[in-house]
Symmetry: C2
Subunit: 241 residues, 2 copies
Amino acid sequence: MTIRAEDRAAAGQIPLFAKLSTRTSARLFRAAQAHHFGTGSVLFREGDAAEHFHVALDGYVCLKASDGRGEDHVIEFVRPGTAFIAAAVMLGRPFLLTAQVVQPGRILFIPADDFRQAAESDLALAVALIRASSQHWRSMIGQLKSLKMQTATQRLASFLLSLAEGQGEPATIELPCERRLLATWLGMVPTSASRAFGELEKIGVVGHGSRLQIRSLEQLAGYARGVPFGKTSTASRAARR
Amino acid sequence: MTIRAEDRAAAGQIPLFAKLSTRTSARLFRAAQAHHFGTGSVLFREGDAAEHFHVALDGYVCLKASDGRGEDHVIEFVRPGTAFIAAAVMLGRPFLLTAQVVQPGRILFIPADDFRQAAESDLALAVALIRASSQHWRSMIGQLKSLKMQTATQRLASFLLSLAEGQGEPATIELPCERRLLATWLGMVPTSASRAFGELEKIGVVGHGSRLQIRSLEQLAGYARGVPFGKTSTASRAARR
């Protein structure tokens, strides 16, 4: 059984798989599968053996952890076109997080042994994995900085900005999941999340449900950096230094 | 100029450099240097070009970020025998964090180009780097879970436990830095840190300055997991499942 040509092509779009040798490509895709998953699908749970290496070809996946008191907390959002949790696969250890689909899409599954053996025998793939992990690492440091140094509303502002990347003004964005789940990622309770959205509405972030419009990206960026209203131009200049 | 034999031997103790080929070893160490640094020494600053790959041979290093309002926040502690911030070196990007020595020790510097070229041409080193980064990644996920799901005092309890690893009871530990800096790593203000230490004193974590004694590791572990006093045995059993 082989995967569909369009799934193979979509996998080739991610930097990790952009320059595979014929031999490595054959090894990675000989038993790979891709399926469409609806919102809420659970791909694996915290503590499960890492049997596959996963790539979100499209759709959004969230990685979350249970606090043991019945509440789930989102640790990370996986954007379309991204591989996730190579660490457990490479070390042959259980997953530390649960992966759940928050926006429907196709997910690629590569058997863990095939991926690990390919990465351990093909220098080009190993180097591509180091580069992908390094970039991922840097975004994780950004998240840690944010958790320690920004208020919850500033973190929400930063996240909304990241969704508006590359857009002009006003920017229209679509939240990848319901606001309640987003709140746990921002490290706050749902009522604080409502207050945070209310706060951002004052500087022109408006909308209902999952679709929002951002009037001024610069003003939102200023807010995220802790600059009082009306001084965002200075903040924006400082940030560009 | 070559590094001292004992520094080369200490570098060989870390898993990343445990099985180097003669050729790769020659490349990595041809221009490497090791120096002793006292407490407070700054190895590099946030935003600096990544000119070296660093290994803490002994001593403790903290990685921190400035919040732009004059306050530093510790993002991570680097234990003795650990390499740090391979990501910036491998991508040729500026460091995202400042590295400061918090306990005196020797630090190994390998020129960034030598390290990158070695990792990109030697499959064994590349695979060792993937494994080291994967383990590091997992510990980072642990920190993120903790920041989102534990109270500040629970985080402090978890950190003290990690310092007591492998010890019997009572365990004697040495904080790697002053309590004020530790507080920023735990994501709290100094006054909350005092309250947190006071809270743990009630369950037998006693001492002054940087040296502490832990009466019961099991009770402290129970506290870290949010189990009320007197129920730690159950918690400990549950954690072992």
